[in-house]
Symmetry: D4
Subunit: 222 residues, 8 copies
Amino acid sequence: MDKHVNFDFHRTLRTGQPEIVFSAGKDKNSLLSLLNFFGTNKNEPVLFTRLEEEIFSLLKESIQKSYTYDRLARTAFTCPLSDKVNGKVAIISAGTSDGFVTWEAQRTLEFFHVESKVFEDCGVSGLWRLQSRIEEINEYDLIIAVAGMEAALVSVLSGLTKRPVIGVPTSVGYGVCENGKTALNSMLACCSPGVSVVNIDNGFGAACFAHKTLLSCKGIRK
Amino acid sequence: MDKHVNFDFHRTLRTGQPEIVFSAGKDKNSLLSLLNFFGTNKNEPVLFTRLEEEIFSLLKESIQKSYTYDRLARTAFTCPLSDKVNGKVAIISAGTSDGFVTWEAQRTLEFFHVESKVFEDCGVSGLWRLQSRIEEINEYDLIIAVAGMEAALVSVLSGLTKRPVIGVPTSVGYGVCENGKTALNSMLACCSPGVSVVNIDNGFGAACFAHKTLLSCKGIRK
Amino acid sequence: MDKHVNFDFHRTLRTGQPEIVFSAGKDKNSLLSLLNFFGTNKNEPVLFTRLEEEIFSLLKESIQKSYTYDRLARTAFTCPLSDKVNGKVAIISAGTSDGFVTWEAQRTLEFFHVESKVFEDCGVSGLWRLQSRIEEINEYDLIIAVAGMEAALVSVLSGLTKRPVIGVPTSVGYGVCENGKTALNSMLACCSPGVSVVNIDNGFGAACFAHKTLLSCKGIRK
Amino acid sequence: MDKHVNFDFHRTLRTGQPEIVFSAGKDKNSLLSLLNFFGTNKNEPVLFTRLEEEIFSLLKESIQKSYTYDRLARTAFTCPLSDKVNGKVAIISAGTSDGFVTWEAQRTLEFFHVESKVFEDCGVSGLWRLQSRIEEINEYDLIIAVAGMEAALVSVLSGLTKRPVIGVPTSVGYGVCENGKTALNSMLACCSPGVSVVNIDNGFGAACFAHKTLLSCKGIRK
Amino acid sequence: MDKHVNFDFHRTLRTGQPEIVFSAGKDKNSLLSLLNFFGTNKNEPVLFTRLEEEIFSLLKESIQKSYTYDRLARTAFTCPLSDKVNGKVAIISAGTSDGFVTWEAQRTLEFFHVESKVFEDCGVSGLWRLQSRIEEINEYDLIIAVAGMEAALVSVLSGLTKRPVIGVPTSVGYGVCENGKTALNSMLACCSPGVSVVNIDNGFGAACFAHKTLLSCKGIRK
Amino acid sequence: MDKHVNFDFHRTLRTGQPEIVFSAGKDKNSLLSLLNFFGTNKNEPVLFTRLEEEIFSLLKESIQKSYTYDRLARTAFTCPLSDKVNGKVAIISAGTSDGFVTWEAQRTLEFFHVESKVFEDCGVSGLWRLQSRIEEINEYDLIIAVAGMEAALVSVLSGLTKRPVIGVPTSVGYGVCENGKTALNSMLACCSPGVSVVNIDNGFGAACFAHKTLLSCKGIRK
Amino acid sequence: MDKHVNFDFHRTLRTGQPEIVFSAGKDKNSLLSLLNFFGTNKNEPVLFTRLEEEIFSLLKESIQKSYTYDRLARTAFTCPLSDKVNGKVAIISAGTSDGFVTWEAQRTLEFFHVESKVFEDCGVSGLWRLQSRIEEINEYDLIIAVAGMEAALVSVLSGLTKRPVIGVPTSVGYGVCENGKTALNSMLACCSPGVSVVNIDNGFGAACFAHKTLLSCKGIRK
Amino acid sequence: MDKHVNFDFHRTLRTGQPEIVFSAGKDKNSLLSLLNFFGTNKNEPVLFTRLEEEIFSLLKESIQKSYTYDRLARTAFTCPLSDKVNGKVAIISAGTSDGFVTWEAQRTLEFFHVESKVFEDCGVSGLWRLQSRIEEINEYDLIIAVAGMEAALVSVLSGLTKRPVIGVPTSVGYGVCENGKTALNSMLACCSPGVSVVNIDNGFGAACFAHKTLLSCKGIRK
């Protein structure tokens, strides 16, 4: 094993906190080492994000079984955190094309042991899709809204609810969408108060923020 | 009068078409010459756009009276075109801050002798404002939608109507709004089909397009 | 079939309207499911856009035959809408390199049952190409103008016609063309009134806008 | 009074909710009308943001006394909302130059009847300034972090606290700071999880989000 | 006179070449010193560009008379270079709003003792304006084309002439025109070969390039 | 052969002028058709630019031999134009990495029957490379300067020569070079007069401009 | 004195280090308070940067005399640091228009008690200006190079010297210069190794870096 | 061997200085020629940067052994320079994902015969990682700081040390990170003085600057 391979390994052992491995751009061998390590040491909670199926499928089947893996959300973890947080989160998406971000948020919350429900395909080109579900959505403490293109969902949604909305712009779209920049700016420019925003495609980040907020404001379920 | 002053003057006389004078950036003296000329030769229809009140108020009162002038729309004209076009246009705006663009569109249509009605303050942060008027809006042939910031109005509106929507992004907003660029990109990225867009703050251009469309598809009223 | 596959399927069945499937970025398996479904249920009108030949060629030959497919326009549909709209649309392009957008517009209009004719290769580097056809073009109710690079076609065209021009910038070009942004901005900055614009490469969107305009202003052919 | 003056007036009366008037870009006469109206009808809670001292000082002294006005925060209101929200918010700023945003957030929370405390001048060029206060900061439920330039405060802060951090980039700085864009992108790119972001200089928006979060997760104090 | 004032002075005396003083951004006192010096030492040819009338009018009348000054072109010089260059230059502009750049080019050529003629108002929204003059234009050796907004003039012109075209984008326009960037990119993306481009509003630079080209290819008139 | 294949074919036959085929982005089959046509009809002068070796190598050997092909310049032509232009062009490049643009310019001039010489590797990080050749360079009528990264070559060169300089920015470099945009802006901002610029990597365009200039100012060699 | 005025005051007293006050954007009253405080407590070394003459001239004459003030560099300080650093710095500028940045660097070094010499007007449009001074420049330990527009000076200079070059891009220029961004990117893209760069117009920052480097590598003069 | 292959070869022999070959974008055959040449002529010191393993592994094993090659740093050299420079450099990185840049800097310093030590994984999301090493870091003369995303490491580090910091932004990150632009701007906007910056991912450039600085200020070790 050459000197550059096992770089993330020692850090993982060093901290007691749940470890997050952002897999994109990481060396294939390094990832497999980490997946094998945590797959055989299951008492260490760990979440792998942006983990492509091609990498995961290279693991031995017994190791694969140690993990729940979601192909669309590109996430793998062995077990969620033991403490369950009070409160629950609604995850609303504009379209199914935003699914890779929507489900990354859902899976991250699952790993953090936070209750959540996904409401897909609520884009504003057909308002009834959102309006028919708004009453149910309003029963959740926090809302994560996932949308690409012009991301008008966030503006409409935050006008319909008293809940705070965490916007996640996605890179869905072409031309002026500029890989999510238009969705990002739309959310930040939102005329309706009660919205804050995370990086493009960052479903993980929105879930982290939601988790920290519930932990801080509502605490652990006993 | 030095050689650079009367530049637009000869062109005005050369064409039979209604003359449009885009006043922004033009020399004060040149503008006053033009305003005086057309104010005393009222049978020549002319529209001045982006004409600031400070300039207009420098005219003699008798000349001022030759024009209808609108302070917010920053437009002046002597009389509308004689031919009245078939069809009518609804002009919807997100907020009263977009008024300088909204009314530029209305006034341009008035000059072009096209029937129109303004529906202000229909931004999507309060959906009921749009929904309570949508039935009336749907009775118009074309819709001009004026919005700044994230311009979500256009997406919602085009999902609620069968009428084509001409979007006019405005420079209203700050920070990421980038002088209307976010509104422009939002409209162009609109997920709901049936929208086309003009330049930022270009209420005049939207009215021109609407006028040309009605003239082409519905003709002159006899 | 895992939970993320058939996402667009239920929506398709839910609405009576002609269904549009934007294929780019969609999962190969999902697309094939949809193509198979509509290919065997031909009374449901559907339009697939941005559908690459590699995907379409994976279908069974009997299913392929249910569709008309156009390789350059990357579109497939079973049958056009039954109602024929009044009026007709001229589609003008600057060059044959813009063909993938030009023909997407033409095919979408065909699906919407709108009469149209394509005039290719009218770029302004050789003005006679446009001028020799302008008389014929002027007989159409609406004009869709497709151009990349600096998109000067739109400015010249709108100065030569009384018809409204719907501009479609294309991503054709390199360097400062910036994937269509220069063409887009050129069209929006157009000095000649009567132009509105859709997203880069969005031939489909221009056709939708034209269809909605004719439907609204001229109605259904009886 | 011409037709464009009293645009925001009727809307204000229409809703029971606290009214927010974003004063920037609004007509001087319109603002004075609104200020006079609410200054004499004090039972209607209203918040004016981005209200320059030059405007406010034009009011009669008796009307001025109806308001608390803050020159730096550029905000005016008659009285806070009657319901007091549970929980409290720490507002941390990188430097005193960010004061116009920091205090806009504080004043908005005051108007919303939310307890808050400002910790100014905690920029990371001198880490001890933040570290010596972190224990006290950690006693608050939510954190609003205000910073311009490269906004490194947000990254360091979110690594030192379990509380969620709402980042507000400011337009402080020159050259590459690009009116707050670098601060905005830095916050969105933050390597430390638990951060979400609002528009540049939008202290008001951060306070709204915090208020909605506490209302949703902790409710009204009885 | 403090140490920072007379900075450009010694350089002027050092070289035998015609001196160019770019006045924008220069200190008022420094400019007046230079104007006075050259106004009393007229055998030294010098060209002042971007010289505002407010500055020039501060000179004593006797000094003013030493110069020819053009208010629109914002240029002043005492006498042109003594050598006359062979060949001549046509300067075409899209509109009179581009005059400040058009005439800067003309005046610079006059100073360089190069024959030139200005053809204003040839924008392509009315093609006949260009086409009726193209035969005369074609008799010039080089063409300078000045245009703002979408600058389609350059594309059309270079398709109509065998002469090389030097494009000068101008900052005329608003919204997507972005202070001349759209005009610049349009010219650089021009589909018709035989065009090269200078900086935005740089009429002086285009004239320099034309002068150097004629000097190099056609030499001095004897 | 389906309807979209032979699009450029008829245009080629229509004009007597030398035909230029910009091959990038064109369909492989279309290119091969064109190459075969002109390879067997050699009296028709044609230039293929941006023609990748992979395409060219698919031709039958006998057809390949009809062309001179240059792998680095990615150009092919059968024979140059018959008329030889007076004057000659120096092509200077900053480094050998700019070769694909440098030689495209040289090959285009060769096709246009213009005398030229290439001076490679004259970047300013080692000034002697340029200074030792400047005397020879000055004997040419026009200079084409090719450079990527910060493109300082153009500024230095135009300060050392009386010849006009046509700058060609290249996409060589990484990070802030932004695919040639920094080189482009550097050339346009050049402090030394006598420079004009073409699109990024557009060696062909620079050669066209040089050809047109010599033809216009110096005429055909008899 | 209201609560927002004396914000920077307590920090100044808290640290033993030389205090830097970045005056731009600061409140006039706050600045005058600070200037008065340090002007009467001269044993506290302090540097004011970006201090406009209009502010400074408001001080009582006796306080003004406590400071050395430089109008062009916009800096004021009472006395330099007592420790003199080993080594010396050459400050090279492209033109006198860059003076406001050049002299800010010089004055900052003077305040830090570092020996330096300014070489103005060395832009590469006339190479001899740099080459005639390069031998003297090479006797300095570090070089600060100040340039706007395309900033080619940095590339040429770093190719002529073995000394490290600290580049300071300036906002001098117009059009594509984009307030210094082109100069900044040019310096960062510099093909000649041995260059690092600071923010646009940040003469102060370059001097700080030079001071820290000499202090670290050469120490205090005894 | 065709005319475009051995372009860099002759230059290499021409100069006595250590040769640097930037391999990215270079022709595979050219690179192999150069590697073979220097691998058999080992007394000529040469450094290959951005050399991908796929290229290097194509060499004969005997040639491979002439070089030390580092897969992560993508660098190869035969032997370091003979003269050892005084002073030493600390290389700090935010995370292991920045390794390809971090180790490029380290390897370049090794080639230049400069002592250095790498401190990886010091990102500010866990401040203790940096604080626990700061005392050791402070013993080095210069610091190179490598970071992507929002690059807050540089701000914190320069506030903790008296040593000058050379920032190297990396392209690590997604969305708003924009391939390193946010990290670059963050470093340039750094509120803490004593920082200068090189191009994105330019570990080589930072090492060159450090080498030149030590050579200039501390000289050769005897």
